[in-house]
């Protein structure tokens, strides 16, 4: 079964544990600026929103890449960047409508979420279950359930 990240901003407290887990998993240091998932603070609204690649089926980044460095991982459905192939041209960062592919100036390559090969570190790290890894076909299930609950009220 294909799974995907489900991000529920109303549960997020803005603690950045996900960013630390992501950067540690991928770079070996606690470094939010190297995280593939980002938490945004909307101070005046009092809201926090985690955001990362949604692994589009028809991925703009994949089609834009001139050297075929981005491929679909058959196990997870993630669009993986091959560091060996990537030339750091950044065309994918322009192509992505959501801004979730970014350039890493230290390596000269782009980085994006690869679902950690099917065991996303951010999910494990989130203390409030604002990030979960669920059946991709039913990512709206919790919200459906909440609304379904309304229908059984007298």
């Amino acid at each position: 079964m294909l799974r995907s990240l489900q991000l529920e901003s109303e549960k997020c407290t803005g603690c950045l544990q996900c960013e630390m887990a992501c950067s540690y998993e991928n770079e070996g240091v606690f470094n939010p600026s190297k995280s593939r998932i980002k938490v945004f603070t909307f101070h005046e609204e009092g809201r926090f929103a985690p955001y990362t690649c949604s692994q589009c089926a028809e991925a703009w980044c994949l089609h834009a890449c001139p050297v075929d460095a981005i491929t679909i991982n058959p196990g997870t459905g993630a669009k993986d960047v091959s560091e060996d192939v990537c030339v750091g041209c950044k065309v994918c960062t322009i192509a992505c409508p959501f801004g979730t592919v970014n350039y890493n100036a230290d390596s000269g390559k782009v980085i994006k979420c690869d679902l950690c090969g099917g065991d996303p570190a951010c999910v494990e790290a989130c203390p409030t279950e604002a990030i979960t890894y669920v059946d991709a076909s039913n990512a709206g299930m919790d919200r459906m359930r909440a609304h379904a609950a309304q229908t059984i009220k007298a």
């Binding site: 540690y24 070996g28 606690f30 101070h43 009092g46 409030t128």
Partner: protein, 616 residues
């Protein structure tokens, strides 16, 4: 490791920024944060210097666990000599700038001298420079934050700065970071402004590596997070209610100072409590509380984000205050509310916004307003002194006007900026000031919580709940329940809390974790991250070392045993209601035994053997 092993020394007189290695010999004894910066300060300044002179120094400091995945590992402190108390000051703050300093490659910034013109420090990884703050001087914290983010075109930069109150010399101004987190107490912001240093802007992407034993660290931090997630206070009480979870509890046990400590229970407590913050209001059907919020790396998330009622008189035609911002913690709800007798939740929230916007400590401010109200009601000050404000207990209008004036140092705000001690002395009623060593009390009446009386009297930074929070034991039963009305065993209890807290502060973790964690939970995290052998025992010893170092600084600064006391009101006037009815604080029963437990002389001076044992 876990330290970046790098200190940035900023000479404001000469306008230079230089890198130097962290003194690792001291780090092994004092960890980081509060302890390590106190060691630097004690070495580098004469404790007798005028706190607002160029000879004083100001240190922004992180701990070894700051910026790591350890829960709450985002704390930093501002350490300096306090203009409010004349003692050593260490004000601890959360938010995000501490972790950013570490990510930029630094453990510590030391500011010395005084700039000729207003400046701010800009740090981008290892590059640091002083830039002109001519355009920023006279701006509030919130304006400064916005301007600097725009100037540097960097929404991810983290900013700490002082507001207008500090520029105007208010003696309890703090350093505000991330808009609403504060190194709040003891006037550390006043010192920063005295150096003409307006702000510190930090951006780092180097990361925090250098973990001595990464595998052990990940496992120790994961275990410890589990403990927080399974504890009723850290998993439910604090995230749902914030520290405000205490309001009704402390009121019921009769330890809620009310109207400048004239009483110990506040009839309006329920109107300004956590529960009240959750109640939908009439005007827009929304509650005061918008959400809880976490500081960097914190899995508790006790922070409050609130709005003022859009129909409230305080924000009429002021759209800039209609958005959400940092809301009431227990301390600010108490000082702005119970201590002044004001039970208008929106007035308190607004006053708290003003404290953040212009960077002054809501505890000291509320307590100073309370003292001014008593001065007014007893006739010691008049409308002429207050500029026409009816400073009466319970007046929301007086409170919010006082906040606006203190923010800018205008009118009666100039007097209020003196703090309670100097205000009461100025008007001939020193006995009305509820302070220790010149610093205003926090929200626990020591007549109803005996151990806190001793903790206040002996705190190295003046009256403070965060130097030895025996409320935890005396009221909440953590780690063991003791009788709040008894003095038995309190000297040892206070010493234990003081030493453990000094150690926790110095790691870069948050003291609120100790509702669930003991040093048994903290030591494995420190030990895995840092070189050296860190056990609960060695942490406790480091805490005791830090306490004695701070004490020695204060004695060298001219403080004496006579300063280890409480206002007469708490020692002579009995509590009128509640479980503590009839009680005063029995400090004299505890203080001599405390000195003895500390290995100090009868005059409260560390014995040579004690200093030698601790290698101070």
């Amino acid at each position: 490791m876990a330290w970046q092993k790098r200190v940035l020394r900023v000479d404001l007189t000469n306008g230079t920024c230089n890198e130097e290695p962290l003194n690792m010999e001291w780090a092994m004894q004092y960890l980081g944060q509060r302890g390590l910066a106190s060691r630097y300060l004690a070495e580098e300044i004469d404790p007798k210097v005028d706190a607002l002179s160029p000879e004083n120094k100001l240190i922004m400091v992180t701990g070894p666990l700051t910026g790591t995945t350890a829960s709450t590992g985002g704390r930093y402190s501002v350490v300096t000599k306090s203009p409010l108390t004349g003692a050593i000051a260490c004000s601890n703050s959360g938010g995000f700038i501490g972790a950013e300093m570490k990510n930029a490659g630094w453990d510590m910034f030391i500011f010395e001298g005084k700039s000729e013109k207003p400046v701010y420090l800009h740090v981008e990884n290892l590059k640091a420079q002083l830039l002109s703050a001519d355009e920023l001087w006279g701006k509030s914290v919130w304006e400064t934050d916005e301007i600097l983010h725009n100037v540097h075109q960097d929404p991810l930069a983290k900013i700490a700065c002082v507001g207008r109150s500090a520029e105007q010399g208010c003696l309890y101004s703090g350093v505000i970071n991330d808009l609403h987190r504060a190194a709040g107490r003891s006037g550390v912001g006043t010192v920063m402004a005295s150096k003409q240093l307006k702000a510190v802007v930090v951006r780092g992407n180097l990361g925090v590596g250098n973990i001595a034993n990464p595998k052990a660290f990940l496992s120790a931090t994961a275990e410890a997070k589990k403990v927080l997630a399974e504890n009723a206070v850290t998993a439910e009480g604090l995230p749902q209610m914030g520290t405000q979870v205490l309001m009704n509890v402390i009121n019921e046990v009769g330890a809620m100072p009310t109207r400048n400590f004239k009483e110990v229970q506040f009839e309006g407590a329920h109107k300004i409590s956590a529960e009240a913050m959750h109640e939908p209001r009439e005007s827009d059907g929304k509650p005061n509380l918008v959400t809880n919020a976490a500081c960097f790396g914190c899995t508790i998330a006790c922070g409050r984000i609130s709005t003022v009622d859009p129909k409230h008189y305080t924000i009429e035609n002021k759209p800039e205050y209609m958005g959400a911002s940092g809301g009431l913690e227990y301390e600010s709800a108490w000082s702005l509310g119970s201590d002044t007798g004001v039970d208008d939740l929106d007035a308190l929230t607004y006053a708290n916004f003003i404290c953040n916007e212009d960077g002054f400590d809501p505890i000291s401010f509320g307590a100073t307003v309370a003292a001014a109200m008593e001065l007014f009601e007893t006739g010691a000050i008049t409308l002429k002194d207050t500029g026409g404000i009816e400073m009466r207990f319970g007046s929301a209008e007086a409170l919010t006007k006082a906040a606006e004036l203190t923010a800018t140092g205008d009118g009666f705000g100039r007097d209020l900026g003196l703090g309670s001690k100097r205000l009461c002395e100025k008007y001939g009623k020193p006995e009305l000031s509820m302070t220790v060593k010149g610093q205003e009390f926090p929200a626990y009446d020591p007549r109803g919580v005996q151990g806190m009386g001793l903790a206040y009297a002996t705190s190295n930074r003046g009256a403070c709940h965060l130097r030895g929070y025996t409320v935890s034991s005396e009221i909440m039963g953590v780690p063991v329940k003791t009788d709040p009305l008894s003095t038995e065993g309190k000297p040892e209890l206070v010493k234990g809390f003081q030493d453990a807290t000094a150690a926790v502060d110095s790691t870069g973790l948050c003291t609120f974790t100790t509702f669930a964690w003991t040093l048994e939970d903290i030591a494995p995290q420190v030990d895995a991250a840092c070189e050296g052998n860190w056990t609960p025992e060695s942490l406790l010893e480091a805490g005791e070392r830090i306490w004695n170092l701070e004490r020695k600084f204060n004695l060298d600064a001219g403080l004496t045993k006579e300063d280890d006391t409480l206002p007469k009101r708490l020692l002579k006037d009995a509590a009128k209601t509640g479980p503590a009815k009839g009680a005063v604080n029995r400090l004299d029963e505890m203080l001599p035994a405390y000195y003895e437990a500390r290995g100090w002389t009868e005059d409260g001076e560390p014995k040579p053997d004690t200093l030698k044992r601790l290698n101070v």
